[in-house]
């Protein structure tokens, strides 16, 4: 998930949410006012207003078709999480397979003491490559120490190997296990 898409997602949620509040609130309040339950009714009626400014059928249909297509496209865009299958390396014209690079970094991470398993997902393009790293720690590993080792070892090597900044999100978990009492 790139930062830009996250922002667009949140804007869409806010816009649709705001529209839903206005439309739903208007429907409920107008209905209640007509039944006499509440004394205040929101002014106007969008249907009446629209009758006076009725757009041509072509315009209406064009708008609706555009909204439908855009919404479907955006829905499908959420499925694309990573990007193209190969990454160009800066400087040279070489391309590297995104998955094998991610696997190689993950294998390197798994050699760090205290790391049980590592999963790496590379997102974005060479200009803004980001890695999301899921680290499952060994049972008695100390997170701060593991992070220090991971940053100085595999992450530093990955940044040197690719020649990009590689913004990295480390996500640490410890496996759930039974409490072992010291006897």
């Amino acid at each position: 998930m790139t930062a830009a898409r996250s922002k667009v997602n949140r804007c869409i949620l806010a816009l649709v949410g705001g529209a839903a509040v206005l439309a739903g609130g208007w429907t409920a309040l107008t209905g209640l006012a007509r039944r006499g339950t509440v004394s205040w009714a929101p002014p106007g009626h969008p249907g009446e207003w629209l009758r006076q400014h009725e757009p041509s059928t072509a315009v209406t249909m064009g708008l609706l078709a555009a909204v439908t297509a855009a919404a479907l496209w955006w829905c499908l865009a959420q499925l694309r999480t990573t990007g193209p299958s190969t990454l160009g390396l800066p400087g040279a014209g070489t391309r590297v397979s995104r998955r094998s690079l991610a696997r190689a970094i993950a294998a390197d991470l798994a050699t760090v003491p205290g790391v049980d398993t590592a999963r790496v997902v590379l997102r974005g393009t060479t200009a803004d490559l980001r890695a999301t790293v899921g680290l499952r720690l060994a049972t008695h590993a100390e997170p701060a120490e593991v992070i220090r080792l991971v940053t100085q070892g595999p992450l530093c090597r990955a940044r040197t190997a690719t020649g990009v900044r590689l913004g990295t999100d480390l996500r640490l978990t410890t496996p759930s296990h039974r409490a072992r009492r010291a006897r």
Binding site: S6, N9, R10, I12, L13, A14, V16, G17, G18, A19, A23, G24, T27, L29, G31, R34, P46, G47, L50, E54, P55, T57, T60, M61, A65, V67, A71, G91, T94, R95, V96, S97, S100, L101, A104, A107, D108, T139, E142, P143, A144, I147, R148, T151, R157, R159, T160, A161, G163, V164, R165, G167, T168, D169, L170, R171, L172, T173, A179, R181
Partner: protein, 327 residues
């Protein structure tokens, strides 16, 4: 006898042609790539595209040892392949595309020298903008924001996909109704029976849903993750909240006399409750608090959470006897 004389007499263009088969070029390229890699990888696939009789383009898929400077190593392979293939095949190799198809873990001994090659060669400048980024940066001194760690924000992919799907369905349904010969958009709106209780209820529910969407848009989300101290400028770290709970539990259970531990790990506060089987409950509480706070320090949370430790006697608690209480 007579034959050599005849051939030498024929014009040069009719003497015959030398044809280099694609297969031969592929072998030469593969061999050259393997030479250039020097054991730090192999050429897996080579393809040759001929452009006329004397020109060819090649494409090499490599399998490289990782970690290594990928751009530098593939550039060396490219230059060597072009040089050797041109010399050996007599063709004009106008272009060599290098793709790194897979990477395998290098044996530990070769790690340092393969990575140090960029600094040693010096011929190729570091890629644009990455020179400063790759250098070893400790936690910068210019701001506390870097060290503290930001709370991770969710990208809201699921909510956005669901909302987009609902909007698409609604707009599509309206499109079908407004289609030529059907209704106009104003008549659709005016046909709503506003005084119908079901419509009032639906409107209220819709408004509540809208509030939920706005809240989703404004809140960070990812409440499961707690930010950790950032190790450097390009790295963020977060730990699962229940994992913090497990680490605190492990720390508290190791205390003498503690039989069970319950931990509630919130986003700002960690409550540890120890059940004491024998000995002084207050002593066990103090030891557990010391142990848990040491464990919390070892986690390195970006915002140090509050730790509160309480102790209760377990069901079969035995009060401290003289010999047990002595030390």
């Amino acid at each position: 006898m007579t034959i050599p004389r005849q051939t030498s007499a024929t014009p040069r263009a009719e003497r015959g042609t030398v044809t280099v088969a694609d297969r031969t070029v592929r072998r030469i390229v593969r061999q050259a790539a393997t030479e250039a890699l020097g054991g730090a990888g192999t050429a897996r696939e080579v393809s040759v595209a001929r452009r006329g009789v004397r020109e060819a383009r090649v494409r090499v898929a490599l399998e490289l040892a990782y970690p290594t400077d990928l751009a530098d190593r593939s550039e060396r392979v490219r230059r060597h392949v072009m040089h050797r293939a041109t010399a050996l095949s007599g063709l004009d190799i106008s272009r060599a595309d290098i793709a790194i198809a897979s990477l395998y873990a290098a044996s530990p001994g070769t790690v340092s020298d393969t990575l140090g090659s960029r600094d040693a060669s010096g011929g190729h400048g570091p890629p644009t903008g990455s020179g400063e980024a790759v250098t070893d940066e400790e936690v910068p001194t210019d701001g506390t924001t870097v060290a503290r760690g930001r709370r991770p924000w969710s990208g809201r992919p699921l909510s956005a996909a669901a909302t987009a799907l609902v909007v698409a369905t609604a707009a599509g349904a309206l499109l079908v109704r407004v289609a030529p010969g059907g209704l106009t958009s104003s008549s659709v709106l005016r046909s709503v029976p506003l005084t119908d209780v079901r419509w009032i209820g639906a409107g209220a529910a819709f408004a509540v849903l809208g509030v939920v969407l706005v809240v989703l848009a404004l809140m960070p989300g990812m409440r499961r993750w707690l930010p950790l101290v950032r190790p450097d400028r390009d790295t963020w770290a977060a730990i699962d909240r229940s994992s913090v709970g497990l680490l605190l539990r492990d720390a508290a259970i190791s205390v003498d006399g503690v039989s069970r531990v319950k931990v509630r790990s919130g986003r700002r506060r960690f409550r540890v409750r120890v059940f004491v089987a024998y000995g002084s409950t207050d002593g066990a509480r103090q030891a557990a608090e010391w142990s848990a706070s040491a464990a919390l320090g070892g986690i390195g949370l970006g915002r140090a959470g509050r730790l509160s430790v309480t102790s209760v006697p377990d069901k079969q608690w035995r009060p401290p006897t003289g010999e047990e209480a002595a030390p």
